[in-house]
Symmetry: C2
Subunit: 140 residues, 2 copies
DNA sequence: CTATGTGCAAAAGTTTTGCGTAAGA
DNA sequence: TCTTACGCAAAACTTTTGCACATAG
């Protein structure tokens, strides 16, 4: 068992929440991925474990709440999840307009804009999503 | 009839496509909005015209294809539409994590990053979506 | 043991599609 | 007139929820 899972287990135990098979499977899968994945994609790839799709959504909600994963709302209307900035360098994404495939773009380049946005809108800014939309090499 | 509608009508006519009541109603509505709206929001506000929700989606698809509107994929899984950069200053958005309300954030601040993203990923970059996620004054 | 989480199935919500008809040009 | 687009209804998809049962602690 690796560090993220140990941390997660401890954090959950502190609040009477449990480290279950579904949560372990989902988190382990996310740790092995380099790109954001949708709930359905996780479901298909862990099908042999018998974990239910609803449980994957519920696990993702828990991980989001704990700050262990971040989500990306992609053009195309499918939500994708990945390990959060706490465990990976902060970065952004490029999504293919045709096939929906997603890749990381290293770096940020937009830090410092949050404060300006907060001032001009009155919102309390919690995070940002910055996504390039384009065509992947296969779809050009 | 204003300029955008005239342009649109001409562009459609050139390809054997028609300027219909549904398209006129949807485009006119978008021209009157300052913030991105979902298909359902348009539908509710133009209900008295009898325009069908499916026709609103179809009109939006057409306008997207013609570059007359842009879409924003918001956290929460609802797609919103607004007049494109061709008719409004380029800008970005802030979305409330709780209620989904959306506001413009003036300016860009991320121009010049597209080329770097293209180089590092091999994608052809067509556009970008930059969204701040936070809490609106009502939801704080 | 006991409360929490899961599987299953149904529901909810958004977006798409097929088909017969209305209506632009 | 003749093709395009619309209305309607159903379907397709993603995500959420209720409930009885399983299971982690």
């Amino acid at each position: 068992m690796d560090r993220i899972q140990t941390d997660m287990r401890t954090a959950l135990a502190a609040q009477g929440q449990r480290w279950t098979r579904a949560r372990e499977v989902v988190l382990a899968f996310l740790e092995g991925e380099r790109m954001p994945v949708s709930a359905k994609e996780v479901f298909k790839k862990v099908r042999l474990t018998g974990i239910n799709l609803a449980s994957i959504y519920r696990s993702m909600d828990l991980f989001l709440e704990k700050g262990v994963v971040d989500c990306v709302d992609s053009p195309g209307g499918v939500r994708r999840y990945e390990l959060s900035d706490r465990f990976r360098p902060h970065h952004h994404h490029v999504v293919c307009r045709e096939c929906g495939s997603t890749q990381d773009v290293a770096g940020c380049g937009v830090k410092g804009l949050e404060e300006r946005a907060a001032q001009s809108t009155g919102f309390k800014i919690l995070s940002h999503q910055f996504t390039f939309v384009g065509l992947c090499p296969d779809c050009v």
